[in-house]
C-alpha cells in the first residue's frame, strides 16, 4: 500500500477536528435544560374534547391501527347521540395524526407533552376523563394553527449557531 501524498489528507482532516475543539459546545443537559419542541409536535397521547365530540367515529374509521374505540347511545329526549366511552389504546397508537386530521369537529388534538412511559401495560389504554386536556397534558398545534400560535417557538439548531456567532 502506497502513501503517495505523505499524509497531507490526514493532516487536513486533523485541522478540521482541532477546529472543533475550540467550538462552542452545543450539548443540552437534558432533564435540566430542555429545547422547545415543534409547535406541531405529535406527542404521545391524544387529547379529546368532550364538548366538541359528537361521536361520529370518523377518527376510529381513519385510524390505521384501529386503536380508537367509541361507544355511543341515542338520547331520544334531546334528539342526539351521546358518547359513552371514548377509549384509545395508546400502545397501538403510532402517532400518525390521521385522526386529528380527519375529525370534522376539531375535537381531537395531538399531545404537546412527551415522557409518557407507564409502569403497567393496562395504563396505556386510556378512556374518557383521562383523555381530556389538562395543564400536564397540553394540546399541540398539529392541524390546529390557532393553538400553534400560542405555543413557544421551536428551538432550531441552525438558528442557535447563528446566534452564537453573533454573540462572539
Amino acid at each position: 500500500m502506497k502513501f503517495e501524498r505523505y499524509g497531507i489528507g490526514i493532516i487536513k482532516g486533523m485541522a478540521v477536528t482541532i477546529k472543533h475543539l475550540l467550538r462552542h459546545p452545543t450539548v443540552t443537559q437534558f432533564p435540566d435544560q430542555r429545547l422547545n419542541i415543534s409547535r406541531r409536535s405529535r406527542g404521545n397521547e391524544l387529547i379529546w374534547s368532550r364538548e366538541k365530540c359528537t361521536g361520529c367515529a370518523t377518527c376510529a374509521k381513519t385510524c390505521p391501527q384501529g386503536a380508537i374505540e367509541i361507544v355511543t347511545s341515542t338520547n331520544m329526549a334531546e334528539n342526539k347521540y351521546e358518547v359513552e366511552t371514548y377509549r384509545v389504546d395508546t400502545g397501538y397508537c403510532i402517532q400518525c395524526g390521521l385522526c386529528v386530521e380527519a375529525c370534522p369537529y376539531d375535537a381531537l388534538f395531538m399531545g404537546y407533552s412527551y415522557e409518557r412511559a407507564k409502569y403497567r401495560r393496562a395504563e396505556l389504554v386510556q378512556s374518557n376523563d383521562e383523555l381530556l386536556e389538562s395543564p400536564s397534558r397540553p394540546a399541540s398545534g398539529y392541524f390546529h394553527p390557532e393553538i400553534a400560535e400560542t405555543l413557544p417557538k421551536q428551538t432550531l439548531l441552525v438558528e442557535k449557531i447563528v446566534e452564537k456567532r453573533k454573540k462572539k
Binding site: 489528507g9 487536513k12 406541531r40 432550531l156 441552525v158
Partner: protein, 373 residues
C-alpha cells in the same frame, strides 16, 4: 495475489456466519460467507428477519391509512417513500397536485436526500473503521434537517407528511427563513467533509479500487441510484423520466467511472451539492396557494393499475398499485431500492477480504426495513 497464496499453507473453505444481529449489517441482515482464509469466496444473503408484510397490510388499510406505513419502509428517508406512494395513487385516480404542494414536496424530497446521504456517508466510513468521527459530523447536519421536518410535520422520524393530492399542512411561516439559513450552512459543512475525508490516505487505501461494480453487471442486476451512477451509468429518474416539477430545475447528474467504494462516496457528496442547487432554486420560486387538492378522505380510485417511480435517495423507488374501486388497494407492490441494490453484493465482494466485505456492504447504503418490508 495467487502466487503468495500458493506459497502459503493450503487452506480449505469454511463457512462464517455474519449477522443477523451485527452492527455492520445495518439492521438484521445475515450473510453466510464462505471464506478461504480471510478471502471471501462466496456469500449467501439471508434476509427476512424484519418482514412485517407491509404490502399485505396495504390491502386492509385505506389509501390514506397506508401512508404512515410507508414511513416504516425506508426509515432513513420516509419523505421519499411518502412521495412515491402518493404519486402512484394520484396517477391512479388522476389527481392534479397544486403548484405550491409540488414545490413543498420537492423541497422535502431534496432535504431528505441530503439527510439520507449524511447517514450513508457516515455509516460507510463507520464500517471502514473510522468509528464515530465521520458519523458525528454527518449527524450534526442531519439533526438540522430533521429539525425542519419536525417543524412542518411534528415528528422526527416517521414524518407522514405527504397526502394524496398534496401535503398534509402548509409550511409554517418560519420555515423558509430557516431553510435559507440551513442551505447556507450546509454548503460550508459539505466543504468541511471534503477537507476531512476527500484526500484522507486511510480512506483512499481502504476504499479506492475496492468492491468494483462493472457497468454491465450493474445494469444486469437492475442497480439504480448512487451505486449505479458510481459505475458510470448516467441514470437519474429526475432527469430521464421527470416527475413532479423536476424538469424546471437546473442540476447535474454526478457520475464516476470506476464503480469502487470511493466513487460511491464521491457520488453521494456530489449529489448533496446538486440537491443544494435544487433547493436554492426551489425555495425562491415557492408560489402561494392551496397545498392540497380536493380529495376525499376515503378516496376510491377507478379500477385499474398504476406504477409510479421516483428517484429516492437510494435509487429507484416504485409503487405499483392495483385498484378495484374500493377504499383499499387491491394489491400494492413496492419496488424496494435496497433489496435490488443488494443483488450485486455477491459479485462485488468475491475475492475481497472480510474487512473489505464490510465496507463494500456499507457503501451500497441499504436499509433493512426496505429490504424485508
Amino acid at each position: 495475489m495467487t502466487t503468495t497464496r500458493e506459497l502459503t499453507l493450503k487452506t480449505e473453505p469454511f463457512v462464517l456466519n455474519i449477522g443477523p444481529v451485527h452492527p455492520s449489517t445495518h439492521g438484521v441482515y445475515r450473510m453466510r460467507c464462505t471464506l478461504d482464509g480471510e478471502v471471501v469466496v462466496d456469500i449467501e444473503p439471508v434476509f427476512g428477519y424484519l418482514h412485517r408484510g407491509i404490502e399485505k397490510l396495504a390491502e386492509e388499510r385505506t389509501y390514506t391509512g397506508f401512508i404512515p406505513l410507508t414511513d416504516r419502509l425506508d426509515y432513513i428517508s420516509p419523505m421519499s417513500n411518502n412521495l412515491g406512494y402518493c404519486m402512484a395513487v394520484e396517477k391512479l385516480a388522476g389527481i392534479k397536485v397544486p403548484e405550491r404542494a409540488e414545490y413543498i414536496r420537492v423541497i422535502m424530497a431534496e432535504l431528505q436526500r441530503l439527510a439520507n446521504h449524511c447517514i450513508a456517508v457516515g455509516s460507510m466510513l463507520n464500517d471502514a473503521g473510522a468509528y464515530f468521527t465521520p458519523f458525528m459530523y454527518t449527524f450534526r447536519e442531519r439533526e438540522r434537517i430533521v429539525d425542519l421536518f419536525d417543524m412542518v410535520c411534528g415528528q422526527r422520524l416517521t414524518y407522514n407528511y405527504m397526502r394524496i393530492g398534496g401535503v398534509s399542512q402548509d409550511i409554517p411561516g418560519e420555515f423558509l427563513p430557516a431553510l435559507h439559513k440551513l442551505v447556507d450552512r450546509l454548503t460550508i459543512f459539505i466543504e468541511e467533509y471534503e477537507n476531512l475525508l476527500k484526500l484522507n490516505e486511510i480512506l483512499l487505501a481502504r476504499a479506492k479500487g475496492v468492491g468494483i461494480l462493472e457497468k454491465d453487471t450493474a445494469i444486469n442486476c437492475g442497480i439504480s441510484g448512487p451505486v449505479a451512477r458510481a459505475s458510470g451509468i448516467k441514470w437519474d429518474i429526475r432527469r430521464n423520466d421527470p416527475y413532479s416539477i423536476y424538469d424546471r430545475f437546473e442540476f447535474d447528474i454526478p457520475t464516476c467511472e470506476n464503480g469502487d467504494c470511493y466513487d460511491r462516496y464521491r457520488v453521494r457528496i456530489e449529489e448533496m451539492r446538486q440537491s443544494l442547487r435544487i433547493l436554492q432554486q426551489a425555495m425562491k420560486q415557492v408560489p402561494k396557494g392551496p397545498v392540497k387538492a380536493d380529495v376525499p378522505h376515503l378516496i376510491r380510485p377507478p379500477a385499474g393499475e398504476a406504477y409510479a417511480h421516483i428517484e429516492a435517495p437510494k435509487g429507484e423507488l416504485g409503487y405499483y398499485i392495483v385498484s378495484d374501486n374500493s377504499i383499499a388497494p387491491y394489491r400494492c407492490h413496492i419496488r424496494p431500492t435496497s433489496l435490488i441494490n443488494l443483488a450485486a453484493l455477491r459479485q462485488m465482494v468475491k475475492g475481497w477480504k472480510v474487512a473489505d466485505l464490510i465496507i463494500i456492504f456499507g457503501s451500497i447504503d441499504i436499509t433493512m426495513g426496505e429490504v424485508d418490508r
